[in-house]
Symmetry: C2
Subunit: 328 residues, 2 copies
DNA sequence: CTGAAAGCGCTTACAG
DNA sequence: CTGAAAGCGCTTACAG
């Protein structure tokens, strides 16, 4: 690979001149400009990013810290972050932490040693103080943690409340909420939205807790449906959990939506693939990813950040796991 | 952040000595060792990866080039690559090319400027010559391209043949194969496997082509099932396409597996979430990712690579879209 | 066993 | 408008 020295020699100027040309900084005579341009072309010269990094103490890389890319919520998010990053000339390094604090810390250390310019965090483990100690531009995705670190979330509370209300409007009389783990903020918010709606309507209900995976949701839902045959509506805290609930209902020969109406949360592609297709509270996943990337880059580039916290609207997607309006 | 100079000053030795300590190279007196260790601890010193990169012309980063992380085949692959990379101290940069040659080239250029150590390619666009011109350690994932570049694939031909044979054994009389685009090597291989099986059995069949997405598969399958009501078995070139076929059958009130048996390809988590759960030819996705990462790292570290080309076994997963053995 | 020096490929004050 | 020089934070021959 050609270096700036090779270009300078070829163009018969100094490396400083080549550098000025590259960065469009400082004065350059027309001749010098032409000579350098020619040399760059002739040698197929590309500036070395590592050398630039060393000088500038930046890397044009951002880190995306997520629990697990295999969880179907994250690929679209990751995709959005990458698309925006590419637009602004950044590269993204995705790190799967499996919700392991030590792993997360190690990853962040490694990234700092590489001069990453900033971090998007979609994990739940560290505290605001930990994060501040990194002295890096940051964005929290899907959670917030104090006022100082910008955050992008969707309105989990409101979406959950709407979903529950819809179940009620469509005639469910006894609603089960299968919620996610207590330590996960979004699971909490959704639970409170559910709670608000059932209480406002004085609705019979039950809340059960499960992991976010299909199998746990299926198991616990099977048990719950057997014990509480009066359940005729389910609000699941994620689409994958909803798929588990569908399996559970099927195994008990319960028909969806006739015997039980079902609504999930997230709006991942899976929902459409199910039969019946899954009604859900769709989060603007791509938008969340894109927005957090933009927020991060603004901070990195020291531009004005007008707003620090985003609570994005969700969309109710009525599909086949809900009875039609006529039945209201 | 502390630098090697700070450490040297603190320990009252030269930076060369600190460097020797860091790299466990060359002789070091016990005292020097102790002093340096103390200084590193006291200053919480971490070596700067960028400076190291500049000297060594490497980066401990590998690039993973895929069409689109949103395609459910890729997250698990990406996850495996990252897990193995982490083990060996590498960071992975995932790049989505959308099967766009220019985008792929730009990504690779950008990675080279950052001194990436090697590339895992799961894309279909460039030629062996393009790749060789990059002068980087390479592994082809899910395709192969000449003998010189190592490759990791699963045995698409054999898996497809087995799937088709299974459909036949279970009593299907007229089998449709919904295949992927011609330009995709895996789609071709699966098609040939299908072809071989139907020909060996003298089985009535039809082949239709579709994109790998749900919607195209559904549309074209709807049309095909209407035109060919005698179809009683479908082999889909991917699980997502199979989900589309399920939707199509459902829309025509056809029962799976009673009216039509169905088998997909890939073994992504989606298959289990469907109702009925999808029978499929499971690729060892995680293993493919892990193996390609190991192969790449071996090349990077100039270790002996015993084998260049891997054709991994698939596993037939019999689930609910196939009739039970009694019906054979 | 240890340090001074050169070099990896850039950028940017500084002097001219 | 342009070049020589110092510096970003490391590593490694080389000399002692």
């Amino acid at each position: 690979m050609a270096t700036i020295k090779d270009v300078a020699k070829y163009a018969d100027v100094s490396v400083a001149t080549v550098s000025r040309y590259l960065n469009k900084k400082g004065y350059l005579s027309k001749e010098a400009e032409k000579a350098v341009a020619g040399a760059i072309k002739a040698l197929n010269y590309k500036p070395n990013s590592v050398a630039r990094s060393l000088y500038h103490k930046n890397s044009k890389m951002i880190g995306l810290i997520i629990p697990d890319i295999s969880n179907p919520f994250f690929p679209e998010l990751a995709r959005a972050v990458e698309d925006v990053a590419l637009t602004y000339g950044y590269t993204v390094v995705t790190c799967n932490t499996d919700d392991d604090v030590e792993k997360e810390k190690r990853y962040i250390e490694a990234l700092k040693q590489k001069y990453v310019d900033g971090l998007i965090l979609a994990t739940n483990e560290l505290t605001a103080d930990d994060y501040k100690s990194y002295q890096l531009p940051l964005v929290m995705l899907d959670r917030s943690i104090g006022d100082e670190i910008p955050s992008v979330r969707s309105d989990n509370y409101k979406g959950a409340k709407q979903a529950t209300q819809l179940l009620i409007n469509r005639g469910s009389q006894f609603i089960a909420h299968i919620r996610g783990p207590k330590r996960v903020q979004t699971a909490e918010d959704r639970y409170y939205g559910f709670k608000q709606a059932v209480e406002e309507n004085n609705m019979a209900h039950i809340v059960i807790e499960s992991g976010f995976d299909l199998e746990s949701a299926k198991q616990i839902m099977q048990k719950t449906l057997s014990e509480y045959p009066m359940i005729d509506g389910i609000f699941a805290s994620s689409d994958v959990m909803a798929a588990g609930a569908m399996k559970a209902a099927k195994s008990l020969s319960l028909n969806i939506p006739n015997d039980i109406q079902l609504i999930g949360f997230d709006g991942i592609p899976l929902g459409e693939m199910l039969i019946p297709s899954l009604s859900t509270v769709a989060q603007p996943i791509y938008k969340m990813g894109a927005l957090s990337a933009r927020l991060l880059i603004k901070q990195i580039e020291k531009q004005l950040v007008e707003r620090y916290h985003y609570n994005l609207e969700t969309t109710l997607l009525e599909r086949e796991t809900l009875r039609s309006e006529q039945n209201e």
